[in-house]
Amino acid sequence: MTKAWRYTGLTLGYLLKTAILIVFVFPFLWMLSTSLQTYRETLSYPPTLVPAMPQWINFAEAMSAGPFLTYFKNSAIVTLSIIAIQLLVMIPAAYAFAKYKFPGKNILFSLVLLAFMIPGQVTFIPVYLMMADWGIAKTLLPQIIPFMSNAFGIFLLRQYFMQIPEEIVEAARLDNAGEFKIMRKIMVPMSMPALATIALFSFVSHWNDYFWPLIMTDAEAIRPLTLGIAMLRETEGISNWHIIMAGNVVLVIPILLVYLFCSKQIVKAFVYSGIK
């Protein structure tokens, strides 16, 4: 009886997991499928799922529609710089908020949270005008500078740092370790899962960002991949979805690769924070 119940439970679990998996994987498969179809196939109704004859040429066509190497380079520079600078700013900030007592700490932390709550759409015009005023509108910097600190990251990392026992930090101090050494040798290694999570979230959101670079850039030379792919769309008339989807596949590959490498750390981050 109990055995039978357990099997039903297991089966039910697998069924549910499969269902959820399909929900998440299906859009990716559809994208992949469309990227390999012909123009006429993309217009079929009901849509075809398996292309009659994979059209690899779509990828070549998408990539030759603009300076995609430049776009790719720009995306990589912007995203990696943002992550690097964010980590540099975030770790000391979170450390200070987690382990120090100083006057005005709560007010400062509320300010960080406030920054976390204001969406970019509210501030983009003044930010753009400021960047134009500084004369850096034609560079990659307007895509990087506004994201140098990551309020959500500081918040998450502070929670994580607070779980690291005070005794470990004190022991290190007794052994004459400076604050930077404590951060580097204790805080960072002990919160790798959290750092990986924050870095990945940051990577995905900035790699995929469309709105901000669209607002901040006027010229091809400084545009990222997302804008290059948007350019594959027709403004009126019928879009070549097979070409656009080929572009999208190229866009998501780096994300999937990074995710493959980071997924273990992310799972750890959530498990660890759950145990306390």
Partner: protein
């Protein structure tokens, strides 16, 4: 993993920052060249002053390539002007970008501008009056197709000229109509009869609808003009299809057709593609859709495909769409900017090849009379129908407040077409909102 990650962090800090600085220099150099034509680094031996013009446009995909080709033709034929064309997103995004660029003083010299937004920019006095330039070049305003000039004038100033213009038209699967012995409908009554005759219902589900239209304000506006209403009233203080009952008539007609399967009204997201796909597969027999789709549909369908005027109620009428081209008043190279506009509008090597290939409407007399256009129309009569329909073109939604009123109109369309809200009550609310916006 830990080591790798910290290595990655340090490495990316170095390379990322260096690279960012590096390309920032590159970007600056480009900007200087653009702004300062005399920069010593720029022209090693050329004595003539070469000016660089910025041209913003909204054309992606194949049409984007055609625009690029046009710019290249211009640059090759003009030694002292270099036009740099940049895609700035769709029509709405280009508008947003222009607004902020005007504010920050980094606006381009020439820009494509979706026709319904022309008034808004002209009202802020950022568009150059092209009248004197037109006179100087000896071009008469009569040269331009009248139906496409509805958005060109603002306070008697010529603030934009047509470029990539379209209009809604009826696309017909003639094979299906022939099977039923139906003629291509020319009136609302004929459309209703034909659409109902084409409906196929199997096991309580529609497998074929009569006709369809994308989710857009364009098509209801077309029907409003066909019933002799106007979108805004004459002095632009209110809407022009409420008191005369035209709005009620249009939406009652749509709801009636929707109820019998004669009309398939698509979901709002990606409605244009859904409608095109269903048309291609014979799931709808006719669609109201932009002339911009003619080329794409013709190459995708297997049946006898024809286009026709949008069916009339009291009169034939259709709005226009697409974009115009404008010169920004802040441009420092107005002579060069005008040369580019003049060349696009009137040179046989200008916008004409783009128009021929893309399916947008010819906008000058010489384009219409050109041999290339005649040849094309002989080969593709569907394209000629689109141009012929322009004699009934009428735009009644031109006002500075249109973009704002448009959002309210979309809400009204959603309430009626999707939620089957009471038509009169919905129009009451819409009128109130529109009056409020127009009063501001």
């Amino acid at each position: 993993m830990k080591k790798k990650l910290s290595m990655l962090v340090t490495m990316t800090v170095m390379t990322g920052l260096l690279a960012a600085c590096g390309s920032s220099n590159g970007g600056n150099a480009g900007a200087e060249n653009a702004g300062n034509a005399n920069a010593p680094s720029n022209a090693p031996a050329a004595p003539a002053e070469k000016v660089t013009l910025q041209f913003w446009h909204s054309m992606g995909g194949d049409n984007g390539k055609r625009i690029d080709a046009m710019i290249q033709r211009f640059n090759e034929s003009h030694d002292n002007i270099e036009v740099v064309g940049t895609f700035q997103g769709g029509y709405d995004e280009t508008v947003t970008k222009l607004q902020q660029a005007v504010a920050s003083g980094s606006a381009p010299d020439v820009s494509m501008l979706e026709r319904a937004y022309v008034e808004m920019f002209a009202d802020s006095e950022v568009l150059e009056d092209l009248t004197p330039y037109l006179e100087k070049s000896g071009i008469s305003a009569d040269e331009f197709t009248p139906g496409l000039m509805g958005h060109s004038y603002f306070n008697d100033q010529l603030v934009s000229l047509p470029l990539n213009r379209s209009t809604p038209i009826l696309h017909v699967n003639k094979t299906l109509l022939d099977e039923k012995g139906l003629a291509v409908p020319t009136t609302w009554e004929e459309l209703e009869a034909a659409a109902n005759a084409l409906v196929v219902k199997e096991n309580g589900e529609y497998t074929r609808y009569g006709f369809s239209m994308p989710y857009d304000t364009w098509y209801p506006i077309a029907m409003i003009s066909q019933a002799e209403g106007t979108f805004f009233n004459e002095d632009k203080t209110s809407i022009g299809f409420y008191d005369n009952g035209v709005g009620m008539k249009v939406f009652s007609q749509l709801k009636k057709l929707q109820g019998t399967g004669a009309l398939y009204y698509p979901p709002s997201t990606d409605s244009g593609n859904i409608v095109n796909g269903m048309f291609k597969e014979g799931k709808v027999a006719m669609v109201y859709q932009s002339t911009g789709s003619i080329g794409g549909l013709a190459s995708a369908v297997d049946f006898d495909y024809v286009t026709a005027f949008l069916p009339k109620d009291k009169v034939f009428a259709n709005p226009t769409g697409g974009a115009n081209v404008s010169m920004l008043a802040a441009s420092e190279n107005k002579e060069g900017a005008w040369e580019f506009i003049r060349w696009m509008e009137t040179d046989p090597q200008g916008a004409l090849p783009f128009i021929l290939e893309s399916g947008y409407l010819p906008f000058t007399k010489s384009m219409v009379e050109s041999q290339e256009m005649k040849d094309l129309w002989a080969k593709e009569p569907n394209r000629k129908v689109a141009y012929d329909q322009l004699q009934y073109a009428v735009d009644t939604n031109n006002d500075v407040a249109w973009p704002e009123v448009m959002h309210e109109f979309f809400s009204a369309i959603e309430a009626i077409m999707y939620d089957s809200k009471d038509i009169q009550a919905t129009l009451d609310t819409f009128k109130k909102e529109a009056d409020r916006i127009l009063a501001d």
